[in-house]
């Protein structure tokens, strides 16, 4: 059987350990090694793929409704702007920060920031109007520093480093997959022209030839932004988005 016995120290060892303990205590007094983050005076360093407060760029929006369709929490409501165009509004009372909207936006109009801690006074305030999504919210911070943790492989202690970080790191707008709308069953088209009516970029057109009593339908692939609105609205469900390449 194996016996467990106290290790034998000589006086030299004992002295070494005592000095080490005292110096650690002294270090803690001068520069305490706390591992908790002193929020809100400091914060963690967020990764670049962080899913935070969402910003919106109306210039890039093609009003395709994709974000509101894809949102699993029903947090996005498209509202009519004075220009007659429809833009998203976002209810942070519902948003689960999945960022499906950001990923699905074909124009890259939605993008993420690293802001995650917006304060609201009540539920109504959490409903964010389009105008409030263009610029980041007002930031009041005691410190813009971040802390980062790393485990030291040698002595297995947690190393804490501090630094400065830009709070709103603009994530590059999503490129999306370049798509184009295509009719896959021309024989089943009834020429109701709903596709033409919903297309924001004027890519779908119809022309009545009265002499021959036919309607010429056309999707201009140059103008098509691949938003997929016609695909959703087609009453016969014969349009599809296909990859351009």
């Amino acid at each position: 059987m194996k016996k467990v016995a106290t290790p034998e120290y000589d006086i030299k060892d004992k002295l070494k350990y005592h000095v080490s303990a005292l110096s650690t205590a002294a270090k803690e007094v001068v520069m305490p090694l706390n591992i908790t983050t002193h929020y809100p005076r400091e914060r963690r360093k967020w990764p670049d793929c962080f899913r935070g407060y969402i910003l919106f760029d109306p210039e890039r929006c093609i009003s395709c409704f994709e974000c509101s369709f894809v949102c699993p929490a029903n947090a996005i409501w498209m509202k009519e702007a004075p220009s007659g165009r429809y833009y998203p509004t976002l209810d942070y009372g519902k948003c689960i920060f999945c960022h499906f909207c950001v990923d699905s936006c074909p124009g890259g109009a939605l993008r993420s920031t690293k802001i995650h801690d917006v304060a609201y006074k009540n539920m109504d305030e959490m409903f964010t109007h389009t105008e409030e999504m263009i610029e980041p919210p007002e930031i009041i911070r005691e410190d813009e520093g971040y802390v980062e943790y790393e485990i030291d492989k040698e002595d297995l202690t947690l190393k804490r480093t501090k630094g400065k970080d830009k709070l709103i790191v603009d994530v590059a707008p999503s490129q999306g997959v370049p798509m184009v709308s295509l009719c896959i069953d021309r024989g089943s088209c009834i020429a109701c022209k709903v596709c033409e009516k919903v297309c924001e970029s004027g890519a779908v057109s119809s022309l009545l030839d009265e002499a021959k009593m036919i309607i010429k339908m056309k999707i201009d692939s140059e103008k098509c932004t691949g938003c997929g609105l016609c695909v959703k609205e087609c009453s016969m469900q014969i349009l599809r988005l296909v990859r351009r390449e």
């Binding site: 184009v180 709308s181 295509l182 009719c183 896959i184 069953d185 021309r186 024989g187 089943s188 088209c189 009834i190 020429a191 109701c192 022209k193 709903v194 009545l208 009593m213 036919i214 309607i215 010429k216 339908m217 056309k218 999707i219 201009d220 692939s221 009453s235 016969m236 469900q237 014969i238 599809r240 296909v242 990859r243 351009r244 390449e245």
Partner: protein, 351 residues
């Protein structure tokens, strides 16, 4: 030119032509044409083919009649409705029609109106993998009809799907939806007018040709508007909360309740016979893949008229799996009702 590999359609070539159906009344919206030719003349069978295809989704059944209340503003004038309405260029069908087999059948696993062969055909087609869903007419406790999409046999256990409801049902609008999301194909049961509507949809549009894989027609003398027939039955003392089965046999309407039976001559219902049925001559659903009815076979059996190859395959499958018993059916027993409906040709006003 780049090719979209999924479809084989070349990008940049997205141009196609759609024929505009001719109008009988020039300078009027297509819906006005339909209204003038079919609805206002009492030809409308309430098959709801127009409702199923209209892209505006605004053709509705108001007070049991089919209508588009604000068509002046909302009709897109595409003409889809006149392309598919089986009564727009009405060519009345009649007789027994062509068939491969004329048999009696009784399902061993389902209980139905007669031998539950309508249900058996659809469910077997699902089992075979011919279709992935079938549409059935369900009802609520007030006997109002609703449509149920069945995807496997187990779903049928809990529902009151088998059995005839003598009121119109929204089968075709649901069929359109089913066609839009089916993967393998859809099977459907309907009255002869619905079958004609489905054939029109298939004639006009490839999506319906490709995806409606089995059309079971029912024998039909007439159907009724819900409001009218329920009022009539209540006057006769039928309590809907106790009603379990309605049937028309040997000229009698029989309402079976949990504790009693109400019987009266069907002739009495003539006063509430809908105009569309009054001009309908098709008793056996001659355009179906298989027709199912009550007359022509013994009690507890359904008469099955197998007309098309797809239906024949399903019948062979049923024989192989032994999910139904088969017997002899007598085509001559249908003669009276076929003749009775043929006479309705006289009611069609021709101008």
């Amino acid at each position: 030119m780049r090719m979209a590999t999924e479809t084989g359609v070349a990008i940049g070539e997205s141009e196609w032509e759609v024929k505009v159906p001719a109008k009988k009344l020039k300078n009027k919206l297509h819906f006005e044409n339909l209204k003038a030719v079919v609805m206002d003349t009492g030809l409308c069978s309430r098959c709801l083919t127009c409702v199923s295809i209209c892209p505006s989704g605004l053709i509705v059944t108001a007070e049991d009649n089919v209508d588009f209340p604000d068509y002046e503003e909302r009709c897109l004038d595409c003409g889809a409705c006149v392309r598919v309405c089986p009564r727009y260029d009405y060519k009345p069908l009649s007789g027994l029609g062509d068939y491969i087999e004329f048999i009696a059948g009784q399902s061993k696993r389902f209980k139905g109106q007669d031998g539950a062969m309508a249900t058996e055909l659809i469910v077997s087609a699902i089992d075979m993998g011919m279709i992935d869903r079938g549409l059935f007419v369900d009802r609520d406790e007030r006997w109002m009809t609703g449509i149920f999409h069945v995807q496997d046999a187990e779903q049928l256990g809990v529902l009151t799907l088998g059995g005839t409801k003598y009121t119109f049902a929204n089968v075709l609008p649901e069929l359109k939806k089913a066609v839009m999301f089916t993967k393998r194909g859809v099977g459907v049961v309907g009255t002869p007018c619905m079958v004609s509507g489905i054939r029109k949809l298939q004639q006009e549009f490839p999506v319906f040709r490709e995806r409606v894989k089995l059309v079971v027609g029912l024998f039909c003398t007439e159907n009724f508007h819900y409001e009218e027939v329920s009022r009539y039955l209540q006057e006769k003392g039928v309590d809907f909360s106790k009603l379990v089965k309605t049937d028309i046999t040997k000229g009698k309407f029989i309402a079976t309740m949990t504790d009693e039976e109400v019987k009266f001559k069907v002739k009495e219902l003539e006063e509430i016979l809908p105009g569309g049925c009054n001009v309908c001559t098709d008793f056996t659903a001659v355009e179906s893949d298989a027709s199912v009815g009550s007359v022509g076979s013994a009690k507890g059996f359904s008469t099955v008229v197998v007309r098309a190859e797809n239906a024949k395959k399903v019948i062979n499958y049923i024989r192989e799996k032994r999910t139904a018993e088969f017997g002899e059916a007598k085509p001559e027993e249908l003669d009276f009702l076929i003749g009775h409906k043929k006479k309705r040709e006289e009611n069609i006003k021709r101008d």
